[in-house]
């Protein structure tokens, strides 16, 4: 168990040099009389593979070329370079914006006599941002592009937040009933000063988080209590990864249904859509506490609290069975098959059935007995 202070050294910004060298490489190609070309890993789902060594979803080796001299690629090429240049400016100015803000920064006409905008639709610029992330091997958050925030933290974690010219020390034990809202970027300007927790608990639902917070569960258990509030945001996933990097055990408590399990697996292996930053936002170390179909046998009261699984749940379960990185675990196969067979599911809220504080006892018991699913 690692408890560290100043766990993160102030990293030198690696992104600005990357942007500069991108420009230099293009300039050199132009100087040598060749068509400037960008090459990066293809982001298509057919190029997403499961990295068995690191146990995460990453991009395969298939590469895509973007050639300026190709009429069909010229515009995208220009857009990519324009986004890169704009991000360089954001970095230099130390200002952040959303991808929508970026779109508005780049929605201008290409010339007085040209009836064409650099970007017409935000969907175009969103795509280019992803391209640039792959191209530079960097997250958008590192390019000063913020994403929607979601997820809340409570527990023994102290962070120095250098933002807008001031530094604020955040103590996640002093956030009252609301907790600390996980920002879009937990890397840049964020200094993890102190983390004295024994483990990290990720609960799917905000309601349960509030319940555990009221019980002062994180204090009693000396853990960091996180809720992604459903599917985890990029910032939330990154934070979990960083906490795992501090050698803290990570546990997940989700609904016993396909959706809850999918949230768990997204945190664990990353998602196919974000496979290009897989290593930065995946936490294969995470272990699944519950809720499981097996719990129904162990805690008879749960038997009455099951609800009917919907078609989407069954479909999702079948889909998950088709993923080799999930079906390689026989425990998960059992669970998923049980859902498909019984057409039943169980919400984590059901753990409040016997009494409101039962949830805490349930978690403690599971961790003590090391009763996890992989």
């Amino acid at each position: 168990m690692v408890r560290g202070e100043n766990l993160e050294k102030k990293e030198e910004d690696k992104v600005l040099p990357k942007l500069k060298s991108l420009g230099k490489n293009l300039l050199n190609e132009i100087k040598s009389g060749t068509s400037p070309t960008l090459e990066f890993l293809a982001r298509g789902l057919d190029n997403v593979i499961y990295d068995e060594k690191n146990k995460i979803l990453v991009l395969g080796n298939r590469k895509e070329k973007r050639v300026f001299l190709s009429a069909s690629q010229a515009k995208k090429f220009m857009q990519t370079v324009a986004v890169a240049a704009k991000c360089k400016k954001f970095k230099e100015e130390n200002l952040h914006t959303s991808i929508r803000g970026l779109f508005y920064q780049l929605k201008f006409t290409l010339g007085e006599d040209i009836e064409e905008d650099l970007f017409e639709e935000q969907t175009e610029s969103n795509q280019i941002v992803e391209d640039l992330e792959v191209l530079l091997g960097t997250k958008r958050e590192d390019l000063n592009l913020s994403t929607d925030r979601k997820g809340v933290v409570a527990g023994p974690l102290i962070i120095k937040d250098k933002f807008a010219g001031t530094t604020t020390t955040i103590d996640c034990t002093k956030m009252g009933r609301s907790g600390w809202m996980i920002p879009s970027d937990v890397d840049n300007g964020m200094e993890f000063v102190k983390c004295e927790a024994d483990y990290v608990l990720v609960v799917e639902k905000d309601a349960l988080w509030q319940r555990l917070n009221e019980d002062q569960f994180w204090k009693k258990e000396n853990c960091i209590l996180i809720t992604p509030k459903g599917q985890a945001s990029r910032g939330c996933r990154r934070l979990i990864r960083k906490l795992a990097d501090m050698k803290l055990p990570i546990y997940g408590l989700m609904d016993c249904d396909a959706w809850g399990w999918y949230i768990y697996w997204t945190i664990k292996t990353g998602s196919m859509n974000l496979a290009y930053i897989g290593s930065e936002i995946s936490t294969p170390e995470i272990k699944f506490i519950g809720v499981t179909m097996k719990d129904i046998e162990k805690y008879p009261f749960l038997k009455k609290l099951t609800i009917k699984a919907k078609d989407v749940d069954i479909k999702r379960a079948e889909e998950m069975l088709s993923y080799p990185w999930i079906s390689m675990h026989k425990e998960w196969v059992e669970e998923l098959k049980k859902v498909i067979e019984t057409k039943k599911k169980l919400e984590q809220d059901a753990l409040q059935g016997p009494r409101l504080t039962f949830v805490g006892d349930y978690i403690k018991e599971k961790i003590e007995n090391k009763e996890f699913l992989p």
Binding site: L19, K20, L22, G23, K24, L26, L27, I30, K31, G33, T34, S35, P36, F68, L69, A71, A74, K75, F77, M78, V81, A82, A84, A85, K88, K89, L110, G111, I114, E116, L118
Partner: protein, 533 residues
């Protein structure tokens, strides 16, 4: 006549037409000129008000072109149409050799005076009745005299009025005056009723334009009733070769021809008649004929040849191996001349010209086909909804304006799968298709000389020729499309250069945007350079 039915319809039609021409000649002797004209007016091209006017112009211009050609003069032709007393007055003048005053009556005032009739040579006015027909038409419709002005370049010019005595088919000259002058050539002024001037595709102007196309050595000036002056400039100084008379080849002969020739022959024996009047007929061939036709007496006078015997001979001709007929007498315009002419008149963006090697039709009549396809510029016809394909038909350089539907050229054009050449929309393209049929004997569908009969070999040959130039145009158009695509691609890339240069300069912190822009422009230009032709 029993054997004839087996020969197929087309051949019958041709033979009928040939016979018709002879009938004209025969009837001509029997009836008065006026009667003859009235009877045959339609067939001679004097039907319909617009068409009649164009026929008048045609007869005059043809006469002038033939005269100049024979005299080795580069023709300048002037045609003026003006309104006069509810009539149209047409004045036509050339710079040809002129007519010596003692011949003027005979040359112009007698129908069929030219007697090109029995000359087997390539000529514009090969059939029909020529300028005297036009003169007669004037006289019949207005009752007025024709005014003639001519000189042969000897310092004297004469003028006179001329009429044709329709009862005796003899010219009547009046008001003859002669005065010193340098004019050489022939001017004919005549008034016409039952004619109408317009600007349709059958109009005199269209006719003259077509004539100019096929006669690049001629300069033609036209002044219309509205005072409009159009000059079709000369684009070639090469006067066409003088046509040489060639004897008919046995394979190109019909029974009717054979009878006509035989009965006009002054030879004393049928055998020598055959040797003297036909090409490739030798003593040896006559001996072969004798074996094939044992019942015919080759020693008798040719004028005693009977129809049945002539028929037998024509059948025998087909069984003997002949040396192919000479194509020497064929006088094409020439690829270079056609190209220059069409460039001159249509200013096309693209042109392809083909002269096909001589072929024979009906087993022995030599002919050849010249075609040109031009695109863009002033090509095509202006239709209601934009440009349309314009087919210019010619027979021995003479424009065929009428009866397009019944013409072998039209038939050949229609038979082509234009889609194969990427020219699916040819009907609506600014394209002029020029087809000149060259032969010492043109199988016209009628004495009006307006359409070529659908001889299979002729249609095939025209089709092959058109296919060749269609392929060229197709390649050009698809190349043009490729160029256009290339140009559009280049343009699309070009518009991004400024932005990208600024961004690369900013990213690299090196190089001025202007310099990067210049380098990028060069790279793009190099890649999207038009491929050398």
């Amino acid at each position: 006549m029993s054997g004839k039915k087996e020969k197929g319809k087309k051949e019958d039609v041709i033979e009928k037409l040939e016979t018709e021409a002879h009938k004209i000649f025969e009837e001509f002797k029997e009836y008065s000129v006026a009667e003859f004209f009235k009877k045959n007016r339609q067939m001679l091209g004097f039907s319909g008000k617009v068409r009649s006017l164009t026929t008048v112009i045609h007869e005059g211009v043809t006469n002038s072109l033939d005269a100049c050609e024979e005299a080795r003069i580069l023709p300048n032709i002037y045609v003026k149409i003006e309104e006069a007393n509810n009539h149209l007055k047409v004045y036509m003048e050339d710079n040809g050799p002129g007519i010596p005053k003692e011949y003027v009556g005979r040359a112009l005032g007698r129908m069929l005076a030219g007697t090109k009739f029995l000359r087997f040579q390539q000529s514009r006015g090969q059939q029909g009745i020529g300028i005297s027909g036009a003169i007669l038409f004037s006289q019949i419709t207005t009752g007025k005299l024709i005014h003639i002005r001519s000189g042969i370049g000897d310092g004297k010019v004469y003028e006179c009025d001329l009429a044709i005595d329709v009862k005796t088919n003899t010219p009547k000259i009046s008001n003859f005056v002669e005065y010193p002058g340098n004019f050489r050539g022939l001017g004919i002024s005549a008034e016409y009723a039952e004619v109408k001037y317009d600007r349709s595709e059958y109009s005199p102007l269209e006719y003259l334009k077509a004539t100019a196309m096929a006669n690049p050595h001629a300069q033609i000036t036209f002044v219309g009733p509205d005072g409009e002056r159009v000059i079709f400039k000369r684009s070639s100084n090469v006067i066409p070769k003088k046509p040489t008379a060639v004897k008919p080849h046995p394979l190109g002969i019909t029974t009717d021809d054979l009878i006509s020739y035989a009965h006009h022959s002054k030879e004393r024996k049928l055998s020598s008649f055959l040797i003297q009047n036909f090409s490739r007929v030798s003593e040896q061939k006559v001996n072969e004929l004798k074996l094939l036709c044992p019942s015919i007496n080759f020693e008798k006078m040719p004028r005693e040849l009977k129809w049945e015997e002539a028929e037998q001979l024509v059948e025998a001709f087909k069984k003997i191996k002949w040396i192919a007929p000479s194509s020497e007498a064929l006088i094409p315009i020439g690829e270079k001349q056609i190209e220059e002419s069409l460039k001159n008149l249509l200013n096309p963006e693209f042109i392809s010209v083909r002269e096909r090697p001589p072929k024979v039709y009906r087993g022995g009549v030599p002919f050849l086909v010249e075609v040109a396809i031009c695109y863009g510029g002033r090509c095509g016809r202006q239709g209601k909804e934009g440009p349309e394909l314009d087919i210019k038909r010619f027979a021995n350089r003479a424009p065929l304006l009428f009866d397009a539907g019944g013409c072998a050229i039209t038939e050949a054009v229609k038979s082509i799968d234009w889609n194969r050449y990427g020219l699916k929309d040819i009907e609506h393209m600014p394209v002029t298709l020029f087809v000149n049929f060259v032969s010492v004997f043109v199988p016209y569908t009628g004495a009006g000389k307006t359409a070529i009969a659908s001889e299979e070999e002729v249609i095939d040959e025209i089709r092959y020729a058109i296919m060749e130039v269609a392929r060229d145009l197709g390649n050009y158009i698809s190349g043009k499309i490729r160029d256009k695509i290339r140009e559009e691609r280049k343009k699309a890339i070009m518009r991004y250069i400024k932005q990208i240069s600024e961004d690369i300069s900013y990213l690299s912190e090196e190089g001025k945007p202007g310099e990067i822009e210049k380098m990028l422009l060069e790279i793009v230009e190099k890649k999207y350079k038009k491929k050398l032709e």
